[in-house]
């Protein structure tokens, strides 16, 4: 082997070690940022102090900072995640790899198997739903509670074996159902309904690689909720036709949200999913009532926006209070909503014909998402 070639190889190795640092400094290759992961600001190197240096806390923070801002980090992290996903069927972060490539959210699984279950908390939170119902009833606004199916409970046959083997205590699902029943809170159990139609549904109700129900599943759920709303408010509902769908196996947000959160290069081909284009029959007849609905709920309600159904069946003043943090409009669900801290909740509530609280099993202990407490304490800024 020639001397020059050896020099070349030694130089190559030194350069190899230096390249990530050069990339970090000059960004000569543009890198895709991480999805759903916060990355520290590259310019925010920890402030050095002599005390922190002596205690080595400064060094620890610098090492972490260099790690978090290393050149090619997004590429390297994706490489590692991709190898683990493709070769070892392993997902990182909050995603768990189940049987047959089904992905789950770790937090939801823990909730499902009862690991994070706190019965006292759930009872307290259920009580706030009861109180909210009374509060709203005094103002002639009915309340409907929707127990939505979570991905974990719906696809539990695909859970990794070790999770299935974990002992399961009484779940929030059972406890909440009993309490709502006892306190005569109007509710729909969509979990049971989805389980019933799981095998007969024309299209998947939950995606393999997503946390939330599919757009089709959301449309089915909303159709059911709508019929219940019509019965509570006593009007003749529109007939919703969900047979017009676009079939695709291309990953499409939010059907692949868990896969996106994994930060990998390429996901295995998805199952074939249907995106509905719902049609409301008799929509143009004059006596159709479109109620003003307020949804308060977790991210599952978010998917309703993608179905384009709410804008057809509900009044345009209907809103979605996302985790009681922001007020979203179904006509543009991706748009940042108004901050609920700046809204007078009492008068805002008065505009709606009906309030719906929608929670999946992992969020049952959120109760009414704190609405009743806020109404009573009147913390809203106005």
């Amino acid at each position: 082997m020639g001397t020059k070639y050896k020099y070349f190889l030694v130089g190559l190795f030194v350069l190899l070690l230096l390249v990530p640092a050069l990339q970090r400094r000059f960004q000569f290759i543009s890198e895709a940022s991480f999805a759903l992961v916060k990355v520290p600001d590259a310019s925010a190197l920890p402030e050095p102090t002599f005390k922190a240096f002596l205690e080595s806390s400064y060094q620890d923070s610098v090492v972490s900072w260099f790690n978090a801002t290393a050149g090619f980090r997004p590429l390297l992290v994706r490489l590692r995640n991709q190898i683990d996903y493709s070769c070892f069927h392993l997902a990182h972060g909050t995603t768990v790899y189940g049987k047959g490539g089904y992905l789950f959210l770790d937090e939801s699984m823990k909730s499902f198997i009862g690991q994070t279950f706190d019965s006292a908390l759930l009872c307290r939170r259920t009580d706030t739903i009861v109180m909210l119902q009374k509060y709203l009833a005094a103002r002639n606004i009915p309340l409907l509670y929707v127990m939505a199916p979570g991905k974990t409970s719906f696809d539990q046959v695909y859970l990794p074996y070790e999770y299935k083997a974990l002992k399961r205590s009484i779940t929030g699902y059972e406890l909440l159902g009993n309490r709502l029943e006892a306190h005569q809170v109007d509710y729909i159990n969509l979990s049971t309904y989805f389980d019933k139609i799981a095998t007969t549904s024309s299209y998947p109700l939950f995606p393999k690689q997503g946390l939330h129900w599919t757009t089709y599943g959301a449309a089915v759920a909303l159709d059911t909720i709508y019929k219940k709303v019509a019965s509570i408010l006593q009007f003749a509902p529109l007939k919703i036709d969900l047979s017009h769908v676009t079939i695709s196996s291309e990953p499409k947000y939010p059907d692949d949200d868990l896969a996106v959160a994994m930060n990998i290069f390429r996901i295995r081909p998805m199952d074939t999913l249907a995106t509905p284009a719902p049609v409301c029959i008799n929509a143009n007849s004059g006596d159709i009532r479109k109620p003003k609905i307020l949804f308060i709920g977790d991210s599952y309600t978010f998917v309703f926006g993608f179905t384009k159904l709410p804008i057809q069946i509900f009044d345009s003043a209907s809103r979605y209070w996302f985790y009681m943090r922001s007020a979203k409009d179904f006509s543009d669900i991706m748009k940042e909503g108004n901050d609920l801290a700046t809204i007078d909740l009492k008068s805002a509530l008065g505009q709606f014909d009906l309030v719906i609280i929608l929670s999946t099993d992992a969020r049952y202990d959120y109760g009414d998402y704190g609405l009743y407490t806020r109404l009573i304490n009147d913390k809203a800024i106005q």
Binding site: M1, G2, T3, Y5, K6, Y7, L9, V10, L12, F13, V14, L16, L17, L18, P20, A21, F53, L54, S56, Q59, V62, V63, S64, F66, N67, A68, A70, G71, R73, L76, V77, L79, R80, N81, I83, D84, C87, F88, H89, L90, H92, P160, Y161, E162, Y163, A165, L166, K167
Partner: protein
């Protein structure tokens, strides 16, 4: 600063190498010493001046030992040993001593001593031994002292081995410290890179992957563990310890090669050994040699009558255990290893010669595994509980929540292969020569370098994706 951080790999290391390669040979030691001070000050800024002070005194004592004769000569040696041992004892064993005195006080109903805990200087166990080897070797007339302080300081303080070895005796490095121009060539550098990256892969890909599962098991309440959980964790811990420390050693030896030094080999397929004593001749070889040359032989070695030779063996292992960490679990580890070696010396070896190699290798592995439980778990009661669980054979199914991942299974398979492949002499020889690139063709060298690039990419991907996982020997 640890070798497995992006700060070291992507900044310190390449910048140092460029500067070192460009520095004229006569200033290379000075340059490497300056980098080592920076390296050490980054990890343990409180102690850097203290250690430099001890280095200066030891350097002076080395000269004095060389110049003196008779009792004076011995006096200077004793001064050096007292200095280094008191330094080691104070920083490493003071907390342990007071903690145990307090336990006795509490048992007797007396008040505990309140004291400020002493922080442990990084790498104290390693550089204390190296410093002692310097003055002892001069005293024994093996080598003359070094003329330049920077040469001496580099011998002890070189960043490649100051934190976790390998323990390089003065005699092994003396000539290279003075003049190593013959070794400042690209064959050495390529060999150095190869060793460095393969060592990094051993640590980051194998040891750290196994460590996740082991930590998971040992963090679980032992009442909830099955025997199989404990077996799996204990077996994995053997491999984790081996690949962690052998990986570090390879990286240190690789850095040494890049700088033109020949550090001695520290591991030679220890799990392929057919006796426990043989395992210890292949495990942490430099520590074994140090203990043999500077402790075992001076206290009598295999000379003496009755139980003394056996006691000497056992005593050296107990010291070895305590040298690792000042805990009772490390004492148990050392005592256990010494006990097995003594049993072999007494009768076990003769019996083992009659059984098949597979059984012998299995016995060595399991014996070592029991010791590693104490090495890993610094709570003696818990360690005994785990050992009890292992041999209870109660619950031979894995506990839900502790199932190994496919990644774990893959890397433990790799670990098993590369641990036991050394049984075959020709493969062992081939693997030991793998790093030598001097007579290889361009294609072979390029293939090896390509392997290094892939491994580096995989390791870097792992490092930037996960939390920092220190080398197990950094705490010593």
């Amino acid at each position: 600063m640890s070798f497995n951080t992006s700060l070291f790999l992507l900044y310190f290391f390449p910048v140092f190498l460029i500067l070192y390669f460009l520095t004229p040979p006569r200033f290379k030691n000075l340059m490497a010493f300056a980098a080592s001070i920076l390296f050490y000050a980054w990890g343990a800024p409180k102690f850097v001046f203290l250690i430099l002070g001890i280095l200066i005194i030891d350097f002076w004592l080395g000269d004095k030992i060389y110049e003196s004769t008779g009792k004076k000569r011995k006096g200077y040696l004793i001064a050096s040993l007292v200095l280094n041992l008191s330094f080691l004892f104070y920083f490493k064993y003071f907390n342990f001593f007071v903690d145990n005195v307090n336990v006795i006080f509490t048992a007797l109903g007396l008040h505990e001593n309140n004291f400020v805990r002493v922080a442990l200087p990084l790498g104290i166990s390693f550089f204390s031994f190296q410093e002692m080897s310097y003055t002892i070797d001069i005293y024994r007339g093996k080598n003359p002292p070094l003329k330049k302080f920077t040469d001496y300081a580099l011998f002890v303080f070189l960043f490649s081995h100051i934190t976790a070895g390998p323990i390089v005796t003065y005699g092994a490095l003396a000539d290279d410290l003075i003049d190593r121009r013959q070794k400042l060539n690209n064959d050495y550098r390529l060999q150095g890179f190869l060793l460095f990256f393969i060592g990094l892969a051993k640590k980051v890909l194998i040891a750290d992957t196994l460590g996740v599962q082991i930590d998971h098991v040992y963090a679980t309440n032992p009442d909830h563990l099955s025997s199989l959980d404990c077996w799996l964790a204990a077996i994995a811990a053997n491999f984790q310890l081996y690949f962690d420390f052998a990986g570090y050693s390879d990286m240190a030896i690789g850095i040494g090669k890049l700088l033109g030094f020949d550090f001695p080999t520290n591991f030679d397929f220890p799990f392929s050994a057919k006796s426990f004593a043989e395992l210890w001749r292949r495990w942490n070889i430099t520590l074994g040699h140090w203990l043999r040359d500077y402790l075992y032989i001076p206290i009598g070695g295999n000379r003496g009558r009755g139980i003394m030779p056996y006691f000497n063996i056992w005593f050296v292992f107990v010291v070895c255990g305590f040298w690792h960490a000042a805990t009772w679990s490390d004492f148990c580890w050392g005592a256990w290893c010494g006990f097995i070696v003594v049993l072999e010396a007494l009768f076990l070896l003769k019996f083992l010669e009659k059984v098949p190699s597979v059984v012998r290798i299995g016995y060595v592995f399991i014996s070592f595994m029991i010791g590693v439980v104490f090495f890993k778990i610094h709570d003696v009661k818990l360690a005994f509980r785990i050992v009890e669980k292992i041999f209870s054979f109660h619950g031979m199914a894995l506990t839900p929540g502790l199932y190994p991942t496919n990644r774990f299974i893959f890397y433990i398979a790799i670990a098993i292969f590369f641990s036991f492949v050394g049984v075959n002499q020709s493969i062992r020889k081939w693997l030991n020569q793998f790093f030598d690139v001097s007579d290889s063709s361009a294609l072979v060298v390029t293939s090896k370098m390509l392997l290094c690039i892939i491994l580096f990419g995989l390791c870097l991907a792992e490092i930037v994706s996960t939390d920092f996982k220190p080398f197990m020997y950094y705490k010593f």
